[in-house]
């Protein structure tokens, strides 16, 4: 029988970077195919191409055996392809029913019949296990897991032929997950093809007919799930040589600079304890949603803390205010360089100096000569490549923008530096340079806490690794215990445990 959809040598390049190369994949009718791979392996790119959101650089897509050029998500939908994203794309203040039929509202000649709309929605809700939900309430009142299921309902209401689910169970309770898989099998029984992107290996093995592993843009494995084990999958997912090598710290770590006790935020974090010494690089690893970013942001005062205490060099630090944290020697480079890092209309110089102006203010005025001297020196030391330091920062490449942000952090002279995905979206050369900067900074006695979703990075720079899962630290590994397999085992192993208690039934908007 012809598969619903088939890709032939799909390749996609962004600039000089090849993110997918020569992918051949076929989704037969009624099959559930698990798609696995680390962050950045190319899963989302491939799925966006299948859904019509991205065009392939080369290669072909066959739908029902005939070549198609999708060109847009609308074209993909017209063929019956539905991509349910992990992030919600729902309208929170519209009712649940309006969301299920968003755009069309089951309208007759332009008029919406509420009774018809709500009845239709009830039917769909029952199918996704939300029979208890009143379709007339605003969607925002629902828990985020329930909202995710509404999103799924929206997709199946259109009777798709190919359904792509991206991490569908990440915010569901175990009961809801079971309901979701029952539905998935039921749809598959009626001939719908399903692609399931997941980080939960046990899900993939339990529910998928076939498992596909992508790594660095290549298809590594495409095999029946039967007979595969979790250990095999991990090896397939990470099985690449470490590009970066770890250098032991220049000097043994000094005294404790950062201590965190029982830090929680009432949502994700369940009481984090940790410490970092001067000269030490502490790596934080965890899967998506494990709570690394939340931890760093709560520690820095960017998110509200609901409990816990933090000490910098032995002195207690008040929680919940970034200005206080920065004043006491904490500094953070956030994930999301564009949205949270750079000042886009400022020059490179203005971006570098913004956090050190207090130190170079004489008689109320910023000493511009000192500013020039400091920023020039930093730009040189960190090898920021640019036409001139007065250039707008947005004219620089991602790696050089990130180096400019490091320069900002260095001039703030932090005692403890928090880094969230410091090399995200940065090319390999700049990556190695940034790793060098981190090591040098540690050698000067700074304590560094770095969260990364890239294992090779953790292995290259961290002297110690804390593994996060379900909002807690599930393992602490010393340098000699750190290996890709060991870290991943902890990150995955406790998944089942962390899911044991159902999340409390609180409305999502609280």
């Amino acid at each position: 029988m012809t598969p619903i959809v088939e890709t032939r040598r799909i390749t996609r390049r962004f600039g000089d970077v090849t993110v997918l190369s020569g992918i051949d994949l076929a989704i037969p009718r009624g099959h559930i195919v698990g798609l696995l791979g680390e962050n950045g392996a190319g899963k989302s790119t491939l799925m966006n191409i299948l859904a019509g959101a991205l065009a392939p650089s080369s290669g072909q897509i066959l739908f029902d055996g005939a070549p198609v050029e999708l060109g847009s998500v609308a074209a993909g939908r017209a063929l019956g392809i539905r991509f349910v994203h992990q992030e919600l794309s729902t309208a929170a203040s519209l009712s649940v029913a309006e969301n299920v039929f968003l755009g069309g509202y089951l309208a007759e000649r332009g008029f919406v019949n509420r009774r018809r709309l709500n009845a239709g929605a009830r039917e769909v809700l029952a199918r996704v296990g939300l029979g208890h939900v009143d379709p007339r309430v605003p969607l925002g009142r629902l828990r985020s897991g329930e909202q995710q299921l509404v999103e799924l309902g929206k997709a199946i209401a259109e009777e798709p032929r190919l359904l792509i689910l991206d991490e569908p169970t990440s915010s569901l309770t175990p009961a809801e997950s079971d309901r979701l898989f029952t539905l998935a099998h039921e749809l598959a029984g009626r001939g719908v093809g399903i692609i399931l992107i997941t980080h939960r290996l046990e899900e993939a093995l339990a529910h998928c007919d076939r498992v596909v592993v992508l790594r660095d843009g290549q298809l590594i494995v495409d095999r029946p799930a039967r007979g595969l084990g979790k250990a095999d999958l991990i090896v397939h997912m990470v099985g690449r040589p470490a590009i970066f090598t770890h250098e032991p710290p220049a000097a043994p770590p000094t005294g404790e600079r950062l201590r965190v006790a029982g830090l929680c935020d009432g949502e994700t974090l369940a009481g984090i304890d940790m410490s970092a010494r001067g000269g030490e690089v502490v790596g934080l690893f965890g899967l998506v949603g494990a709570g690394r970013t939340e931890f760093l942001e709560t520690l820095y005062g960017f998110r509200r803390a609901r409990g816990g205490a933090v000490w910098i060099d032995g002195a207690p630090m008040p929680l919940g205010k970034v200005t206080e944290a920065a004043r006491r020697g904490l500094f953070m480079l956030p994930e999301g360089r564009k949205t949270r890092g750079i000042l886009p209309t400022h020059s490179v110089r203005g971006n570098i100096s913004i956090s050190c102006l207090a130190g170079i203010t004489r008689a109320g005025l910023v000493d511009r000569q000192a500013e020039r001297r400091l920023t020039d020196r930093m730009a040189g030391a960190l090898n920021i490549r640019m036409a001139g330091i007065g250039q707008p920062i947005t004219a620089l490449s991602g790696g050089n923008q990130q180096k400019a942000l490091f320069a900002r952090a260095l001039l703030a002279k932090p005692k403890v530096l928090l880094l969230d995905e410091p090399t995200h979206g940065v090319d390999v050369g700049a990556k190695a340079e940034i790793h060098g900067i981190i090591r040098d900074l540690a050698a000067d006695g700074t304590a560094i806490v770095v969260a990364s979703s890239e294992l090779p990075e953790i292995l290259a720079i961290a002297d110690r690794c804390l593994v996060f899962a379900g909002g807690r630290v599930v393992a602490e590994l010393g340098r000699d215990e750190m290996s890709e397999a060991a870290i991943l085992r902890h990150a995955f192993a406790l998944r089942a445990d962390a899911r044991q208690p159902d999340p409390p039934e609180v409305p999502a908007h609280v």
Partner: protein, 327 residues
């Protein structure tokens, strides 16, 4: 300003002419030149010291209030209440002068009133997270209402004293308000471009999240610019009342349009992070020249209202087209 100077340096590499055209202030400067040339030929009275100083005096209040408004807009805020604050501050200042006879106290009362409304605006924005457009639309109405309540709608006479000096006196034929405006412009230019807080204002408007993560007190910075803006509106109210020797509760009605127009004409981006004090002064000058042109040419004041709107749309439109091409 520091950034302006650096960007200028970078642009010099691409040719001075190109750099000039690229600066947002350039469009308003060109419009001023064109208007001056046209008026010089159209009316022999235009290019006399007396008329020009008059233009300067008329433009000075808009310019003074625009200095504060510019900081608010650079930090990605907006203050619609300035016109009402002009009226309320004038009324309260006049009332204090009449009740106590203390001229300095009256000045402080006027400035304090402006600062207080500014603090309320800032508080509504930073503490209650009310969009500044809406928050200041509310205080626009409230402040005007209080001015009317205090006076019962009847103007309070307010002659002589500090207000009279600021609003009506001249030093060697130069109006005091014009001198005050120029002094304040220099001070604000230094404040915005050379102090840490000034630089923080740009950073907050450019990317509030990044600014917060860089350790900047975003709320404090926003509070400060609203308070400064309110205070300058209060000062504007005292000058206007002093000029008319009377504090009318309706004083300053519609001024928010002229002030915001001057700021935007001067090249300040409503999206925050970009703008300069000298640009704002140029913007205010253009608005004053336009009013003068309508008087000199004997055109209907009603057309003047229409033209103000057209000029704003044109200035920002030209900039939008130019930027669109660069993208």
């Amino acid at each position: 300003m520091a950034m302006g100077a650096e960007m200028g340096a970078a642009a010099r590499a691409r040719g001075l002419g190109g750099a000039l055209l690229r600066r947002r202030e350039a469009s308003v400067a060109l419009m001023i030149v064109a208007l001056v040339v046209f008026l010089t030929f159209a009316n022999e009275f235009f290019l006399t010291p007396r008329n020009l100083l008059n233009v300067g005096r008329q433009g000075s209040v808009v310019a003074i209030v625009a200095l504060g408004q510019a900081l608010v807009i650079i930090s990605r805020g907006l203050d619609l209440s300035v016109g009402s604050v002009i009226g309320l501050s004038a009324v309260i200042s006049a009332w204090v002068a009449r009740a106590t006879g203390g001229q300095e106290l009256a000045l402080l009362a006027g400035l304090g009133t402006g600062a207080l409304v500014g603090a309320v605006n800032g508080g509504l924005f930073t503490r209650l997270n009310i969009n500044p457009f809406i928050a200041t639309l509310g205080t626009l109405s409230i402040a005007r209402g209080i001015a009317l309540l205090i006076t019962g709608g009847i103007p309070i006479s307010y002659s002589g004293g500090v207000a009279g000096f600021l609003g009506a006196e001249r030093i060697y034929t130069v109006p005091v308000s014009l001198i005050l405006m120029l002094v304040l412009a220099v001070l604000f230019h230094v404040f915005a471009s050379r102090t840490r807080i000034g630089r923080n204002i740009y950073a907050v408007g450019d990317n509030p999240t990044a600014a917060r993560l860089a350790g900047i007190d975003v709320e404090g910075t926003r509070m400060l610019v609203f308070i400064l803006c309110g205070m300058l509106a209060g000062l504007g109210g005292i000058i206007l009342a002093g000029n008319l020797a009377s504090a009318n509760p309706d004083l300053g009605r519609g001024y928010e349009l002229d002030v915001i127009a001057a700021v935007i004409l001067g090249g300040t981006a409503l999206s925050g992070g970009r703008g300069s004090i000298h640009g704002v002064v140029l913007g205010a000058l253009l608005m004053a020249l336009l009013s003068n042109a309508f008087v000199l040419l004997g055109l209907s004041a009603h057309w003047q209202v229409v033209s103000k709107g057209l000029v704003i749309i044109m200035a920002v439109g030209i900039d939008g087209i130019r930027r669109g091409r660069e993208d």
